[in-house]
């Protein structure tokens, strides 16, 4: 336990040391989305002001996913890169699976911070276009919790598979498609005209994240039933953590 806390402290220390960079990395994307889609476009009449409502749960989900993945995949693929910086932590007197768990906790933490930033940003920039009805705070927190974990688990999986110099490629080929094809900027039910796409994207955890947030923030917009989004997120956390753990262990030993 002491070792686990020490590993966390190491990561937090490094994160705080690059605080401006961290905040920029985490806040820029939600800021731009909130600003452009929630303020600029409605102001110039390109989209209806109600689009802000539709968008917010998606922005929340996408920001958390981005932060969780970046917070785990990038450090991990560097740790396992040519230098193997992580070796000293692998030599700590703790099970290797606990080192993975520590990484997931760190990623989740970063996803929460990103999620936490979306609300004040939205309030500051597009509150006039927004009408949120939080149906249940306990469910909102459950979703925040699950989406944080799912994003970190996604990052662990990617971080152990991808070599450091392929990170830009990973964003282009995996993260960006996940976000764009994740019912982020449109509700899943709106895809009923493109059934094949509607079906395929059900493998994307982003769908459950965005739809889940819709169900607690903007219940007026048609969304996937809570039970299914919760189950979907649970499944994503378990499956991706499992794959990530196996990938990590495979890399940790030779």
């Amino acid at each position: 336990m002491k070792t686990f806390v020490a590993l966390l402290q190491r990561d937090v220390t490094v994160l705080i040391r690059d605080l401006p960079e961290f905040v920029m990395r985490i806040a820029m994307q939600p800021f731009l989305f909130v600003f452009v889609f929630g303020y600029v476009l409605p102001s110039i009449g390109q989209v209806k002001s109600s689009y802000a409502n539709l968008l917010l749960p998606g922005i929340l989900a996408a920001s958390m996913m981005m932060a969780g993945v970046q917070g785990t995949a990038i450090p991990l693929s560097q740790d396992f890169g040519a230098i193997k910086e992580i070796e000293d932590r692998l030599m700590a007197p703790i099970r290797i699976s606990m080192v993975v768990l520590e990484k997931i906790v760190m990623g989740t933490l970063q996803a929460w911070i990103a999620g936490g930033l979306v609300f004040p940003l939205a309030w500051a920039i597009m509150r006039s276009n927004l009408s949120l009805h939080v149906t249940s705070f306990s469910y909102l927190f459950l979703y925040l919790f699950l989406v944080g974990l799912a994003s970190a688990a996604t990052g662990i999986t990617l971080g152990t598979i991808i070599s450091p110099f392929k990170i830009p490629l990973m964003f282009a080929t995996i993260i960006i498609p996940m976000i764009f094809l994740g019912a982020t900027y449109y509700p899943w039910h709106a895809l009923s005209n493109v059934v094949w796409l509607q079906t395929i994207i059900l493998i994307n955890p982003m769908v459950y994240a965005a739809e889940g947030f819709r169900s607690v923030l903007t219940p007026g917009i048609p969304h996937i039933r809570m039970l299914f989004t919760i189950l979907g997120l649970f499944a994503a956390v378990i499956i991706l953590s499992g794959i990530g753990l196996r990938g990590f262990i495979k890399r940790a030993y030779s």
């Binding site: 190491r10 230098i83 910086e85 030599m91 007197p93 030993y253 030779s254």
Partner: protein, 322 residues
């Protein structure tokens, strides 16, 4: 000391086969067996690819064992967490935490091992001083030279007071001065009781530092003993090479009688003759006397010490380095 000392590492038929793909395997370590005593500097000497790093990897939980067993202070190396508590590794390759300063590399490492704050601060202070890094303690380690990084990694390894310290090719790639400095540190540590298992492909390093050496090649231990005993395994042993313009028969006769082994070889070259005589420096006065008695000129006298390299050549027919 070797006879009665207590074994702290026990290796019983340890084996590692790397799987490259379904039909290509590398037998990196082929069932080795030896033990290391507490308080000893034990060396694994062998050329690149001999299996030294793999052996250390297995003993330090980083490489999955294919077969066999090993125990550190009685604990099976498969009990990873318990073993990790007892050991420390300085790897072949710089793996310092680049996001941290030199001092933080030490203190965080100690924190992972649950060393209390006051103890780790004091220990970091001491070790930074000992390793000559006090002035650079708050610098990030990215800019550290090879020698500094190596010394910092040793300091880091000592932060949690391991029972066994593993040093993998600790001086490879260092300049001669840094190498000497590191040798001094290793000896200093050992004198204070630290058990050290090191690997090297420098025969002089093994000879100079180690109490006992296992010579390893192609994943097998070819010989294991003290440096002194290992060198005695080389047929011929030490010799003296005598370079003369000419070698009168009478001189050869005298030299032949000088020691029971006598002249081992005579090589005639265009304008000189080289006679090799068995034995060490104690024979030199006798040889000089014989040369003077026969009124012969000497071009050079060279004492040739047997090295571990000679033993390696004797055992494998190859040189240690390429």
């Amino acid at each position: 000391m070797a006879e009665q000392a207590e074994a702290i590492i026990d290796i019983e038929g340890l084996k590692k086969t790397y799987t490259l793909d379904s039909h290509r395997h590398v037998e990196a370590v082929k069932g080795i067996k030896f033990s290391v005593n507490a308080g000893e500097i034990f060396g694994l000497l062998g050329p690149n690819g001999a299996g030294k790093t793999t052996t250390i990897g297995m003993l330090t939980t980083r490489v999955k064992v294919t077969a066999g067993d090993a125990f550190i202070a009685g604990i099976n190396i498969r009990d990873e967490v318990a073993v990790k508590r007892l050991i420390a590794v300085v790897p072949q390759q710089n793996n310092l935490d680049r996001s941290l300063t030199a001092r933080e590399n030490l203190t965080f490492h100690a924190k992972y091992f649950g060393v209390p704050k006051q103890v780790r601060e004091k220990k970091a202070e001491e070790l930074l001083k000992m390793m000559g890094l006090k002035g650079r303690q708050d610098d990030y380690v990215r800019a550290f030279s090879g020698g500094m990084a190596q010394r910092l990694m040793i300091a880091r390894a000592l932060m949690h007071e391991p029972k066994v310290l593993f040093l993998d090719e600790a001086t490879t790639g260092l300049d001669p001065q840094s190498r000497r400095l590191l040798w001094d540190k290793v000896r200093e540590l050992n004198e204070s009781g630290q058990t050290i298992l090191l690997t090297t492909h420098y025969m002089d390093e093994a000879d100079e530092l180690c109490h006992r050496i296992a010579i390893i090649d192609h994943g097998e231990v070819l010989a294991l003993d003290t440096p002194h005993n290992l060198k005695r395994m080389v047929p011929g042993g030490n010799r003296i090479d005598l370079e003369l313009p000419e070698a009168p028969d009478r001189l050869v006769d005298i030299l032949r009688g000088i020691d029971r082994t006598g002249v081992i070889s005579r090589r005639d070259e265009e304008d000189r003759v080289i006679l090799s005589v068995h034995g060490g420096q104690g024979l030199i006065p006798g040889i000089i006397k014989a040369v003077q008695e026969t009124n012969t000129d000497i071009l050079s006298v060279q004492l040739h010490h047997v090295t571990l390299e000679d033993l390696f050549i004797h055992l494998t027919g190859r040189r240690l380095r390429d």
